[in-house]
């Protein structure tokens, strides 16, 4: 039974815990990874540098980090290299935007109409199992040695993970939230805008994250098959010329590209889907 004193218990004053001071973000005891991650890098690079010397590994097989840095410096001062970089960036970004954009449109369409979903899903699953990279020769044949074939490759390869995430994300909306909006008289469009779309955002960002990496992969693979410029072309050139350190340098550049894109997307995600830091989302 209720008692009289309880009325004075005012949860009004039970304010939420104050925000953690930002200083703790750099507390090494709180987050040992802040020094462990660079430490691993240093150890691996040192082991690589001196291990290869010690075991007399041929530099045509595995160049030393110092040689790779040298090659990288050489390339970064070469105007032609920047041209290759620009070409690949263009191909990857264009392909990414087209692939991801198409996936958002088609995914939204599919998830809104049950018959369409039931009809198209088997095809989507079937296409997903096709190794998209294997289509590269076909695309070069169809779209030529220029930019287009690589853009198509990048678009196709970044399309599927995004599509799956959009469909799954639009399905993920909480039934209670939809019911809440329904009680207040929301239309289907309002429910889509106010709950389904925001609920899908974390999934969409997961799709973007995978998609951008895949788009770079697609562009490079396209360049392997047939191209006169781009980082993929440069990789092959350095390989033919036994410039293995140069090859590694290109690989480093490609990795940095992927990392940068990943960080940009993570940054956007933290801004736009801030409530779902730890939402579990599916991969490709």
């Amino acid at each position: 039974m209720p008692t009289t004193e309880v009325a004075d218990q005012t949860p009004h004053t039970r304010a939420p815990a104050p925000q953690q001071p930002t200083r703790r973000r750099f507390d090494l005891r709180e987050r040992p990874q802040l020094w462990l991650v660079p430490a691993v890098f240093v150890v691996v690079v040192l082991a690589w540098e001196y291990g290869t010397q010690l075991l007399a590994v041929d530099e045509y097989v595995l160049p030393r980090p110092s040689q790779i840095v040298e090659a990288l410096q050489r390339q970064l001062t070469d105007e032609q290299f920047w041209g290759h970089l620009w070409v690949t960036t263009q191909e990857a970004l264009l392909g990414f935007v087209i692939g991801v954009g198409a996936a958002v449109l088609l995914g939204t369409f599919i998830s809104q109409i049950k018959v369409v979903e039931a009809t198209l899903m088997p095809y989507i699953v079937a296409f997903q199992t096709v190794p998209k990279v294997a289509l590269a020769p076909l695309f070069v044949l169809w779209f030529g040695f220029g930019l287009t074939s690589k853009v198509v490759m990048a678009a196709v390869i970044s399309f599927f993970p995004m599509l799956v995430n959009v469909i799954e994300g639009l399905r993920a909306a909480d039934a209670d939230r939809i019911q809440m909006l329904t009680v207040f008289g929301a239309s289907k469009t309002q429910i889509f805008r106010m709950v389904r779309l925001p609920s899908a955002l974390p999934f969409i960002f997961a799709g973007l994250d995978i998609g951008i990496v895949f788009a770079i992969l697609g562009a490079v693979v396209g360049e392997f098959i047939g191209a006169k410029e781009g980082l993929g072309y440069l990789l092959l050139q350095t390989n033919y010329n036994f410039d293995i350190a140069g090859m590694f340098a290109v690989l480093v550049v490609l990795s940095v590209m992927g990392l940068l894109a990943h960080f940009v997307i993570r940054l956007l995600q933290r801004r736009l889907a801030f409530w779902a830091e730890d939402t579990k989302v599916i991969g490709a």
Binding site: P11, R14, R177, T182, F184, G185, M194
Partner: protein, 274 residues
């Protein structure tokens, strides 16, 4: 600070009487599952609620009290009978209804203030007027200063209070509450009961509240509707004649005890203790 109607009230048919603000006549609800016998959830429910009245519905688990509320909210179709709110037949959710749910069900990507504005936004109501009302409601429930916070930054009790503000922002003719304090700890729950009475006194809404707790129903209500176990039928409607305004101390009085026992006896007789 009284928060009264803002002049935007739905066009009422002239015939609506304040005495039958909510009218439930011969309501039946059957579920027809595929390949099995139909289940009777509610049978012959007759209930009239006066404007401004506070009515609670209690009953054992599975007696259909939440079903009754969902029918009033227009979320669940009825099988038979008539349900009217402020003279309008309920067949889909009515804009005249506000609802508070078991869980606060706030949208995590919206601030508290924007969450409270959801019904006004959906019904495309005058923005400035309702912003002002939202601000008043926040003050009424003691959430001033939390407008720009996000739901996860608030305690459960505070979130539920924001949920109450949201249910009231469009000045509904009827406020439906589905076990709104069930998820709160006992202390917060009793505090929220006192708060709810205060909010109700100030806003003057007609309230139908579903609850598991008999003392809660007695403390809050003008009348308590006791439902029998499945199929849910009205076993008794108990008028609670305790003076208002009420404080929690009223619950230690003999008269309150008599009401609680009387309602509990229905459950004991049915062999169900909730």
């Amino acid at each position: 600070m009284a928060i009264k109607a803002m002049g935007r009230r739905m066009q009422q048919p002239a015939a609506v009487s304040e005495d039958s603000w909510i009218e439930v006549v011969g309501l039946d609800k059957r579920y027809q599952p595929r390949r099995s016998a139909p289940t009777q959830a509610l049978r012959d429910i007759n209930l009239t609620v006066r404007r401004g009245e506070f009515v609670s519905v209690v009953g054992p688990s599975g007696c259909g009290k939440t079903t009754l509320l969902k029918i009033l909210a227009g979320l669940s179709p009825k099988t038979d009978g008539a349900v009217r709110i402020a003279g309008r037949e309920v067949s889909k959710p009515l804009p005249e209804v506000g609802m508070v749910f078991q869980a606060p069900t706030l949208l995590p990507w919206r601030t508290i203030f924007d969450n409270i504005m959801v019904p006004a936004e959906i019904q495309k109501l005058d923005r400035d007027k309702h912003r002002e009302r939202a601000q008043q409601l926040l003050e009424l429930v003691g959430l001033t200063g939390f407008e720009r916070k996000y739901p996860h930054e608030l305690s459960g009790g505070m979130q539920q209070r924001a949920g109450i503000c949201r249910a009231l922002v469009h000045d509904p003719a009827v406020l439906l509450m589905d076990e709104p304090f069930g998820a709160l700890d006992a202390m917060t729950r009793e505090y929220m009961n006192v708060e709810l009475l205060r909010i109700w006194r100030e806003s003057g809404q007609t309230v139908v509240l579903v609850t598991h707790s008999i003392p809660e129903a007695v403390f809050l209500s003008d009348r308590v509707v006791v439902l029998s176990p499945r199929p849910g039928r009205i076993a008794e409607i108990v008028p609670i004649e305790l003076d208002r305004p009420r404080e929690l101390s009223v619950m230690s009085s003999d008269r309150a005890g008599v009401y609680v026992d009387r309602i509990r006896n229905h459950f004991n007789a049915a062999g169900v203790i909730d």
